[in-house]
Amino acid sequence: MVTEGSRETRVVITGVGLTAPNGDNLAQFRKGLLEGRSGVQRLSVRYIGDVLAGICHFDPLKYQKKKELRRGTRAGSIAIYCAQEAVADAGLDLASFDRSRVGVYLGITEHGTVETENEIYEIKQFDYDVKYWSHHHNPRVVANNPAGEVTLNLGITGPHYTLGAACAGGNIGLIHGLQMLTLNEVDLALSGGVSESAGSFGIFAGFRSEGALASHPDPEKACRPFDRDRSGVVVAEGGCVFVLERLEDALRRGVRIYGEVAGYAVNSDAADFIFPSAERQVECIRLALNRAGISPDDVDIINTHGTGTAEGDPVECQAIREVFGQHPHAYINNTKSFIGHAMGAAGALELAGNLPSFEDRIVHPTINLDNLDPKCQLGNLVINEPRRIDKVDYILNNSFGMLGINSVVIVKRFCGQGSDDSGNRETGD
């Protein structure tokens, strides 16, 4: 388990399946991040009208029948697409795998909102007579729905559930998968996060009522973390599922290893429903560094949580400055500036978008940063253009959420068994 001073179980990432507003697989997504391609567009939302949102364009019929789409949820569809893509990417033939030893652990910000809103809209056409309420409602809104749909689709008989962790969900899904592998509960974890948030008028309306819903004449410029002219959150849908397995299993299979999960931490602010705490973020980052057995100067890329709000961005920057100093070794970027806030998927998607840096040593930028907010001053913030750096050994991914949940994941470049810095892969690329 990855804890202080203990390295008995090493867990690696061997597959990535994702859908984001600017790409339906890691290669497309990464290309979009390096080319500065946003995925934010206009969306007409019930009761509200036009808003800006990140919408995914994957083909759900690639892995589902039309009937399954009708019966299930958008979150389930996203989860199935990502899980199937991740399994394929990891070179796994699940049919010859003991599927009772596969776990599905997906982080979510919320689930059931979209389906409930849809049902209320439907019965409104019948003067709110509840005899028109769908019998599909309950299986659609149970919190395990997205993970459960994955098991139905892939015939997985191991454990499945979601982890409600607000916008830290994607990181938490990955962390939980690692923990279950460490506990030997499963031999393979499909871990990550999903979000169907863009289907809910309530989420847009809620952010607007908070004064935190982004607007901009150009949708692609709407999400502006760290910029003085930011106007709030761009809600996005998306998903990212990682195949996690124990290092020895991955080596035995001889598969590509994207990276090793070196450390993680989760803590709580215990302070406010929505406003973050730099102090607790600092503690969370330091705990993850400690568990990874590294110092701040070992980190090469910090992927920020920054959502583009005046309340959140400066707090995270303060926490980063406190841990990493005014002139950090690490280069700092932000993925939401491209795709908006994919909520429960955000942590996993944002980590995935940075994993190719272990290979190409390019740091994708944070875009739409024209006038840096002085409170967000960070050394080595990679602004608007990608930056090639000398080495990428450690990537640190921040994801924070409402009710004061903080999460940090650190992934290490895989250098071969027992080697820390050989640069020689034991597995092919």
């Binding site: 039309k66 009937k67 009708r70 019966r71 028109y132 769908s134 019998h135 599909h136």
Partner: protein, 83 residues
């Protein structure tokens, strides 16, 4: 509605409920569930669509009468004739 129109209305509903199935060779006197993939939740969808589209209520005790396409037409004819 004529019996033919009722049959077409039922087929339209079934096509929406199970869009992956080919309904062209559906036989009227053989239970639907023996010919196409139609589970209990799908059947409830048919009941719901009859309620939403035509205001027809089918009590649970009568569900068995809708097992075949011919059975559906026979059961619904007196209830949809005036529509």
């Amino acid at each position: 509605m004529t019996k033919e129109q009722i049959r077409n209305a039922i087929l339209e509903i079934i096509a929406q409920i199970i869009p992956d199935e080919d309904l062209s060779g559906l036989k009227g006197d053989i239970p639907l569930r023996e010919q196409v993939e139609l589970d209990s939740m799908d059947f409830l969808d048919i009941i719901m669509e009859l309620r939403k589209r035509y205001g027809v209520e089918v009590p649970e005790d009568d569900y068995m009468q809708l097992a075949t396409l011919d059975g559906c037409v026979a059961y619904l004819d007196p209830r949809m004739r005036e529509i």
